[in-house]
Point group: C2
Chain length 797, copies 2
């Protein structure tokens, strides 16, 4: 510890009895935390500790547990005293023992998992399951009641906390931020979330920065900068920091009790002022810095090495009690220092006077319904999406921006659900043409205003569109929002959704466990990711903005929880969006562009097509239902347009060619039925793609993804996929398509090359097609020409 | 602008002539920036502006250009005055016109691209190429001389800057941080890089936070918090901020001149003190906040909307000059306001008195060799990697931690290269068993020390191991370090390398352009990513730590620049690491675990195997070179061990079964030769995997990736891949393998199912194998057992 001095005379907030009992409760937490790590038997130490009582493999993280439990004990006091509505988010990585201990002492763990009962046998099972095969993990996994934040990957505790607080005016979200995770980028910027929290309509977030001092193997940066630098930093983040520092439990209890009461008092005063005066002016929210020794109350020294207050306390402080009798003695002495016999009664249950300290029922942090958000979830009041349909009398005859149409629908979803629906986007909601939403609600903005903001700024303290230039923070908010039972949509540039690859992975993993294994967790609204500003219209932004690879990341996750849709036009997008917004427990990825695109299907046809997820477009086919010469498949808007244009070229040149045109909306239709619930049977797949005819498939993303999904289909060897292959710079849209060979000309050439009956007879056409390619490239480089270039095409048939 | 007041009486640092000429130079920059966006002809406005002089499609970002050029002009003055060695990093996204203009005015652009000469014709081409098909992008792309930071994806300017400054004691890296990018997580935490910069041996980073006020469509957070909050924040980050604020160029020039001189003076004083006294104590480094109107000097108002100082100045301030004559007039008036006729001579070259303002030769920011780091790159002095070999007398008879062995090699690479090699890792170098490196050099640490640090802390001001709990910052440092010509290795947990997916993507794109299209960019050392703490040994950390999907992201990038290696043991890892560290212009991904693993190949065999990248292990095969009944393939350490164990089971049960055992180190060997330079020909592939026999392939990562690479191989329909499929929790290692079916028993069952001659006769064995699976699962759940579980296996044959 750089500084462990405590304030000399802390206020005496706690009377001696309360203090003593709170300290005992805290000792019970610490006992349980250590017990989880070490014991497979003899849970109450009713006999001398023997090697066979110790787990074969010691796993878990002790270091941050005592500090976390310390906060929990004090939160409990205030919850009871002030009837607060509090949830707790545990940021410091593996510190689940603290949360689990608290949950068990509150009785809620045993309510959910009856065999881990409040008695000796239950405690044995409770200890044993921890970090044990077939048991539970060492983070606050979905199995942990009261948790909405697992924290296996660090950095998202604060943004999750804010997401939970939005639109929950009575909720206080206490977020313990680890000083390790505080070094991550996502956490570092998420402090600014306070510029997006409205004290009138939203709840409060109380960050508690835990200066535990060390990570796995290093000191933490924030624990090793001067106190005044840290204070400046937190003040700069917009907070009013209070420091609770030291290592003497008695002094620390008084300090924490007084400080927490001060903070909650300020929070209530801020909210009351804002609500009484309808004044959302951004306040300076309080926060706490808790500087306590890592592994507090644990072994001070082992084998001559300092442990308490050192990185050596991070995981298992004493490594070898099974084989080393001296270590065994140390572990026993440590565990007995908490005096379990004075904390638990004869049956092994927490003694009555300590049980009294915990809140009751749904006020218990472990049982707060906000942390099982599905239970509180209200179904969205959805406007009929058909009302927003684009009029399509003839396929491919007019251009519309799909996201612009979607924006109108989302506007009314917003209007109908002004307390439980939000839209998220990194400064791009307007760029992504979802501007209509602002008619229903502006952009949340609690930072300073400017007279110029009136001019198109759409900023407002009670806006429901969340824009900050941090995909991490937005995704974190959104996850916190859905995990507490509310709904939303996150629109982001396709190339930069990779910024949140790892967050997507972690959320998908959470959902999978919660959905598949935990009946008590109610389904939560889906994460809806609208991936837009797509690769094929990043001809102007260039190579950095061209990356459609997020879909590859998505397809690696469990088929139980991921869905991918590539609606080819606006009406399909409406149908898909309606479906996704109503769904639960998925991550829905919708790929749809913001630029004006050709429209193909009227609303009825779109609904039918999207319901099937994949289908033959008869109007674009020439096989008259018979076995075709070639199947042209496609998925994605530009891919579809170019495929249709190729059909038109081919029809004109080869009127007898039998083409079947298949469009894919629901990408997982391509997978086998045993591999994904949306997968087509082989029979259905074969009936669409034939068992032997060439299939030319034009794909939105990297071509290999289609192969990854279809490699074991009957006709796979005849499947030839065109897609993005990392060619791009500043181009015209058609040029970009050409250099990646997803353009009409390249597709038509490929068809000619693959269809036996066109061999030879197609040579002249191929020559013409190659000429077209060269002509277009030359023209683009000479004249530049604008993005209207490929808009002079409509469907002739 | 929230506040645009300037300090009333700025110091008169510049004499009137200098001030006037610097302002003219700045106007030349601004003229060129605007010209790039608008003009395809009439570059010097020598005739009245007509619609045909304007580009058909107006692209580019004006908003931050004038502020950036303003800084550049002032940097130039000090470079000349003090003979400074400066590179510039442009953080604000699309603001390349400023960098390009400066480069062109310095003459360096014309030296590299002679047709974009310093005359009217050259200027026309220079303008026209910008954001034009076949031309260059609107970021500081690799085509931009003087740039090591493209900035298409935001957030990495500061970490790139620090990476460039490490081990370059005389270099000053001026980093313009956009207030938009400042909201990203990676940027927000990268401010703390100053705790890792040693004033004795490293150069300096001068951050200039550009409070430009707006992003695409929103104000920025940092521009809308009170001045004292911002000052506190930057102070909290460890800087001493100086503010340059206003909009009156004359006043601002004096302010910036004085402030920049002050800052450079402080930097020099800090360095001199540290170097004279050998005192690396972390100083409070200066920085600048430049608050200037967005689109400064551009149109004040268009169609009644404020433009200068508003988000409307972000991109193209006047949209329709081709079709709207009023707009055309506005554009012309704006461009003429810079008085190009007074800036460029008759030939179109910058007038002589202004040329004088630019530094000369390699001191020009655009020509500083550090920004073409390959030119300065010194080859690593490599110790012979064979010296670190593990003694392997019999395959699979002893266990060693591969990364521990690698650590010893890296220790000596470090010792031999103490000024141009660093190792990066997020608090995990020790956890990843690379501890030996600390014998050569400790962990860089300039934050406060503590007496306890002496106990195993390995912290040191001149350490060369970079550890901070931010993968973003580490990757940013590493990229900055290699792009300026130095070498390194980044070791990180497999699951969390996804945190930098998007950074990997962007760096790969940079490399591809630089390597394929820009002969003048010298090859730079590769980014070497050691992916460790692998999925199969995350049985204790659980599901969140199990994600081997980074390889899918990597395989989407250009085959010119990505390489993936899965060395099966320590000797192979040494061979691969030696190869990677010597390479240039790649991202090498090495997948190798930290836990003890069986060793298979002696050093000679390892070198031969790694050189081929894929090969038959005769000692594990039973086909005696004849056509086998089955091929067992594998890639990855645990995958290899389980595959070998399966072979042993099969050999014992079915002595006549002809098994061929193929191990893959170089994953891209699986791809066709036309798709990747490492790809095998079909002939070679077929000779390994046969054209008709079942192939059971045990893969480290998600199975579908192997299908993605091999789908068009002759024998693909008989290829059956086992891999991770998102099943995991707290397990024993063997249990984790079993539930994902990459274990020996499941593999053997699959072989029995696929080999025709075992049909029926294998039923008894299958029953036994299924019994083994159940027995192991039961035992694991009952006893827990430790990670030694699968270490009681050695190769019997």
């Amino acid at each position: 510890m750089a500084e462990t001095t405590s304030r000399p005379t802390p206020p005496q907030t706690l009377d001696p009895d309360t203090l003593r009992n709170m300290d005992r409760y805290w000792r019970a937490c610490n006992y349980l935390s250590a017990g989880m790590i070490y014991l497979r038997d003899n849970p109450l130490l009713r006999e001398p500790l023997k090697p066979e009582h110790i787990k074969n493999r010691l796993l878990g993280h002790w270091g941050s547990d005592p500090g976390q439990s310390f906060l929990l004990v004090h939160l409990n006091r205030l919850i009871k005293k002030l009837d607060l509505n509090v949830i707790f988010i545990s940021g410091p990585g593996h510190g689940a023992p603290a949360t689990l201990a608290n949950c068990y002492l509150e009785g809620h763990y045993s309510e959910i998992y009856p065999d881990r009962s409040e008695d000796e046998a239950g405690m044995r099972r409770f200890f044993r399951q921890f970090s044990f095969p077939g048991g539970i993990g060492s983070h606050c996994t979905p199995e942990t009641p009261g948790s909405i934040h697992e924290g296996g990957e660090l950095g998202y505790s604060l943004s999750h906390g804010y997401g939970a607080a939005f639109d929950n005016p009575d909720l206080i979200v206490a977020v313990m931020v680890g000083d390790g995770e505080a070094e991550t980028g996502p956490l570092a910027t998420s402090w600014h979330s306070n510029k997006f929290l409205n004290p009138i309509r939203d709840g409060a977030v109380l960050p508690v920065l835990h200066l535990n001092g060390y990570k796995i193997a290093n000191p933490t940066v924030l624990a090793r900068i001067p106190r005044e630098e840290l204070e400046a930093l937190l003040t700069g983040y917009g907070h009013k920091p209070y420091f609770v520092e030291g290592d003497d439990p008695e002094v620390m209890h008084q300090q924490m009790a007084a400080t927490l009461e001060q903070c909650v008092g300020e929070i209530r005063a801020i909210q009351q002022h804002a609500r009484d005066n309808n004044d959302p002016t951004r306040p300076r929210w309080p926060m706490i810095v808790l500087r306590s020794p890592k592994g507090w109350t644990g072994p001070k020294e082992v084998d001559g090495h300092k442990v308490e207050g050192s990185w050596r306390a991070h995981q298992v402080p004493i490594a070898d009690p099974v084989t080393n009798s001296k270590s065994l003695k140390l572990v026993e002495a440590w565990l007995r220092s908490y005096q379990p016999e004075a904390l638990f009664d004869a049956s092994g249950r927490l003694v009555e006077e300590l049980r009294e300290l915990a809140p009751k029922g749904a006020r218990r942090i472990s049982a707060n319904p906000h942390a099982n958000g599905g239970a509180l979830c209200k179904t969205l009041d959805m406007p009929p999406f058909r009302d927003y349909a684009v009029d399509v009398r003839k396929p491919a005859s007019a251009y519309t921006s799909p996201t612009q149409v979607l924006g109108e629908f989302l506007r009314d979803v917003m209007r109908n659900n002004m307390t439980n629906f939000r839209v998220f986007g990194p400064d791009e909601t307007a760029s992504n043409k979802l501007t209509a939403i602002y008619e229903a609600s502006g952009k949340t903005w609690l930072a300073a205003g400017d007279p110029g903001d009136a001019d198109g700024g759409a900023l407002s303290a009670d806006g429901r569109v969340m824009e900050m230039l941090s995909e991490h923070t937005l995704e974190g908010w959104f996850e916190g929002y859905v995990l507490t039972g509310r709904h939303g949509l996150f629109a982001t540039y396709e190339a930069f959704v990779h910024v949140i690859d790892s967050m997507f992975n972690q959320h998908a993993k959470w959902l999978e466990k919660a959905k598949r294994e935990l009946a008590w967790r109610q389904p939560v609204p889906s994460i809806n990711l609208l991936i837009t500003s797509l690769v094929w219209r990043q001809d102007h932004n260039g190579f950095t903005h061209q990356d459609p690879g997020f879909l590859d990341v998505v397809t690696n996750k469990s088929p139980d929880v991921v869905r991918i849709y590539l609606p080819p036009d606006a009406n399909c997008l409406l149908s898909v969006a309606d479906h996704c917004l109503r769904s639960r427990d998925y991550v829905n990825v919708i790929v749809a562009d913001k630029q004006p695109h050709l429209q193909y299907l009227d609303m009825d046809a779109a609904v039918t097509h999207c319901t099937k997820g994949i289908g033959i477009w008869d109007w674009a086919s020439t096989d008259q239902g018979a076995e075709p010469d070639v199947v042209i498949g496609c998925a994605g808007d530009i891919a579809t347009m170019e495929a249709l244009a190729a059909v038109e070229i081919l029809k004109e040149r080869f009127p007898d060619l039998k083409i079947r045109f298949v469009n894919v909306v629901d990408l997982f239709r391509l997978m086998p039925e045993h591999a994904h619930p949306h997968g087509l049977t082989n029979r259905d797949f074969d009936s669409l793609f034939t068992t032997s005819k060439p299939v030319i498939f034009n794909f939105h993303s990297y071509a290999s993804l289609v192969h990854k999904l279809t490699y074991n289909r009957t006709n796979h060897e005849n499947l030839h996929v065109h897609g993005y292959h990392e060619k791009g710079n500043i181009n015209t849209p058609l040029e970009l398509a050409i250099i990646n060979q997803v353009d009409r000309f390249s597709l038509a050439i490929d068809v000619i090359d693959r269809v036996p009956k066109l061999r030879g007879v197609g040579d002249h056409a191929k020559e013409w097609l190659r000429g077209q390619i060269i002509e277009h490239l030359n023209y683009a480089h000479a004249e530049g020409i604008d993005k209207e270039e490929i808009r002079n095409w409509t469907w002739k048939s």
